[in-house]
């Protein structure tokens, strides 16, 4: 009898580009969420699916070619299967590339997990002239096979039926599916006989002979380790090759034997049109210009198209603020009003405002990834990005960083390698973002002659890029050094991404941002709001001041004002006074707040032209100080939104703190050198 309340855990495993994600999307639709596996930055995607009275929890494991211990993704996938024991594992296979995809499937079989093979993209395989004898293959491999077309939702119900059926059956013992040849098999028998009480499965013994570091870590018995090492040495001398290579060879041999009987190919290549496109987009000379052109389009889409909804959101939150403020009499100084209007509404507005950029950027990324261009982009940029110790793909988030660090840091998810990803995230604030442009727009015209304005502006941007390159290099040889994963990558054939997959990708990222980073940004902006407002000044002292002077006095009296004054001795050597200090602290909320805070410090009304403030600045400071303000704002402490998103994307406060502290210290030292050297030169 079918138990109607039964819950089933289903893990999806498969090669990169096998269409695993399209199957996952077909199964779960919007009922999915993204998290991380504990302790690592590998993404964990889970989703729910209800079918025939069953509640299925679908886990999309990271895309891998194998189950070795050489990459975090493979260890994560393997440990998930071994430790969490999902009821069914679906191995998603790209039918047009069956041999390599079966390699992973065969390893899953050896793990004795209840397995179903989904021969995905079967339509493409048919077009390419591949004909399968599914029944025979299923018998040979002793596993159930379902043909699917993930992006067209075909075969999904059939897959679910087989998954339900398999979940009710006992797992098969397929540990001896493959004969590894008498030498290796004999060593395994010898080891099993020598340690009859070890409780180790055949799979574990094979893994040990494969010199799997992660499995070795779990073996406490030194005698076993020594015996295995002896076996490995013996095998090496007999076979003339590492046992793991022989083992891989036997698995492939088994697979091609099975395929030879069950797969008929009528046409050879599946790459005709892809090769044609590649001959242009990865061309020696045209590759890079095409890449840069496409990146320009991505940047433009993200920030120019994003502007319209952003302006709309700004209007909406402005209106909402005024609407709520309307419940109090005009000029009221009620705390609740201020908390609601200036704290919460503008805080939430400050969170939502990033959403259009994030959604548009991830739509662009979904298209680049879905078509297969992203792999080419990495190929094209690899030559020069490699020199600074980063992956070619790092170029894309770094470029987005010129618009805004928040979506840029989220875009670092396209980087598979953890060290690359964290390095790119840490240096991101050095890409001078759009918010900092408002600071330059205030300072540059105030201090520099017309003909110098362009060069000064470019020098700031250039300093940021140069520092980013230097820092990336330094991070990669110190804090984040270690093995660079050998650069082997598949160039998938070009495909047309489905609208559904693009929309799901946008939704997933947007929601992730709101849930993870949004809450922290809101909290931090409310704290900064309170710090700019409290402690209050007694009203008696403000009696004969006009509105602007009142604001100035209040800011000076607040936590931020006091902190700005308190750090004056510290920032004097870099040419700053308490006014700049106050504005800098206020600017932690968002870089462009610097301008507004300077306005308040100088008691300039909102109605005044910006030139009024510029005049006051140029009479108080030298051009050298002006330049130092820009330099400090460029390098120093990223805004709270950046810190929050760094934390949520790396999964640890330590990286956000390191970024914040490291950049501020670097800003201080560099500004100090520039200011003191400038003064020495009489600037």
């Amino acid at each position: 009898m079918i138990d109607n309340t039964k819950k089933i855990a289903v893990a999806l495993a498969g090669n990169p580009n096998s269409g695993k994600t399209t199957i996952f999307n077909s199964l779960t639709g919007l009922r999915q969420h993204v998290g991380n596996y504990p302790g690592v930055t590998v993404e964990k995607k889970e989703g729910a699916c209800r079918y025939k009275g069953y509640e299925l929890n679908i886990i999309d494991l990271p895309g891998t070619y194998s189950l070795t211990a050489y990459s975090t993704e493979e260890v994560v996938s393997r440990n998930f299967i071994i430790e969490q024991k999902p009821d069914v594992v679906v191995s998603v296979i790209d039918s047009s590339n069956i041999e390599r995809n079966l390699y992973l499937a065969v390893q899953l079989m050896e793990l004795n997990v209840p397995l179903v093979l989904a021969f995905n993209m079967s339509d493409i395989a048919r077009q390419k002239g591949l004909v399968f004898d599914i029944e025979k293959l299923s018998t040979l491999l002793d596993v159930k096979i379902v043909q699917t077309v993930g992006n067209k939702n075909k075969g999904i119900d059939g897959l679910l039926d087989v998954v339900l059926q398999t979940s009710g059956e006992p797992a098969k013992n397929l540990a001896s599916l493959i004969n590894y040849g008498s030498e290796i098999e004999n060593e395994i028998i010898k080891l099993q006989q020598k340690f009859p009480d070890s409780g180790l499965s055949k799979w574990t013994w094979i893994k040990l002979l494969e010199q799997d570091a992660d499995i070795f870590k779990h073996i406490n018995n030194e005698e076993i380790v020594i015996s295995v090492m002896e076996s490995i040495l013996r095998l090496k001398s007999i076979l003339g090759e590492d046992p793991e290579i022989i083992i891989a060879d036997k698995r492939y041999g088994f697979i091609s034997g099975a395929c030879m009987e069950c797969v008929k190919s009528t046409i050879e290549s599946r790459h005709n049109h892809s090769d044609m496109i590649d001959s242009v987009v990865t061309h020696k000379f045209w590759g890079l210009p095409i890449f840069i052109g496409l990146m320009y389009v991505v940047f433009d889409l993200t920030f120019r198209f994003g502007e319209l909804p952003m302006n709309g959101l700004e209007l909406l939150f402005g209106w909402l603020g005024r609407f709520v403020a309307g419940f109090w009499p005009e000029g009221s100084d009620n705390i609740l009003k201020s908390l609601l209007v200036d704290g919460i509404i503008s805080g939430v507005g400050g969170v939502i405002i990033f959403l259009p950029n994030i959604l548009l950027l991830f739509a662009a990324i979904a298209i680049l990834e879905g078509t297969g261009y992203m792999a080419r982009a990495a190929f094209v940029t690899d030559r020069f990005m490699h020199k600074i110790g980063l992956h070619g793909k790092s170029f894309i988030p770094m470029l987005i960083g010129f618009g805004c660090s928040v979506p840029a840091i989220m875009a670092c998810r396209i980087l598979e390698n953890n060290r690359n990803r964290i390095t790119t995230i840490l240096i991101m604030p050095l890409m001078s973002c759009g918010a900092r442009l408002t600071i330059y727009a205030l300072i540059i015209p105030a201090f520099f002659r017309h003909e110098l304005r362009g060069p000064v502006m470019w020098s700031i941007y250039f300093i940021g890029i140069a520092l980013a390159v230097i820092m990336a290099r330094i991070l990669r040889i110190t804090l984040l050094k270690g093995e660079t994963i050998p650069y082997v990558m598949e160039l998938p054939p070009y495909r047309m991404p489905t609208m559904k997959s693009i929309l799901l990708h946008m939704w997933e990222r947007g929601w992730l941002y709101l849930r993870k980073a949004g809450t922290v940004i809101l909290l931090l902006s409310i704290i900064l709001w309170a710090a700019a407002r409290y402690p209050r000044i007694e009203t008696a002292k403000l009696a004969d001041l006009n509105e602007q002077d009142t604001q100035t006095a209040m800011l000076k009296h607040s936590v931020i004002g006091r902190a700005g004054t308190a750090i004056e001795p510290l920032i004097k050597p870099i040419g700053f006074d308490y006014k700049i200090g106050t504005a800098l602290i206020g600017a932690l909320a968002a870089k462009e707040v610097f301008v507004a805070q300077m306005g308040i410090v100088y008691a300039v009304t909102e109605h005044d032209d910006i030139s009024v403030l510029q005049q006051k600045l140029s009479s108080d400071y030298t051009p050298l100080q002006g330049f130092c303000i820009m330099l400090f704002c460029l390098i120093s402490a990223p805004c709270v939104a950046t810190a929050a998103v760094t934390r949520s994307e790396t999964g640890a406060w330590k990286w956000a703190v390191l970024q914040f502290g490291g950049l501020t210290a670097m800003a201080y030292i560099i500004t100090l050198i520039v200011y003191q050297a400038g003064r020495f030169l009489g600037l």
Binding site: Y65, S66, T68, Y70, S71, S96, N97, E99, R100, Y103, E210, Q211, E241, D242, E244, I245, A248, D249, Y252, E268, S269, R270, H271, S274, D275, D278, T282, K284, A375, F379, V380, D382, R383, E483, I485, P486, Y487, V488, M489, E490, L491, P492, P493
Partner: protein
């Protein structure tokens, strides 16, 4: 024309068909290539010797990119076309 005996992959020209003889590299790289099926004995074709950039090969219908450094560690035997 008789093909040369053995060369490094990095010295192979576009469109050349080769047989993989040996990978002179560390365990991690060997295992990674093995997982993709690139084992001694297999045949593949050079699509793009992207000098000085990465290297693209056609292996059983898929396009695989190898870093330049890697191509200097793979020994192949050119086959007559």
């Amino acid at each position: 024309m008789t093909a040369q005996e053995r060369i490094f992959l990095k010295d192979a020209v576009d469109n050349l068909k080769v047989r993989l003889l040996k990978i002179e590299a560390g365990q991690a790289l060997k295992a990674r290539l093995a997982a993709m099926g690139l084992l001694p004995g297999v045949q593949f074709k050079i699509i793009n010797n992207g000098h000085p950039g990465p290297f693209v090969i056609d292996f059983k219908g898929s396009r695989i990119v190898l870093g330049r450094g890697m191509a200097g560690k793979v020994v192949v035997k050119p086959l007559e076309s």
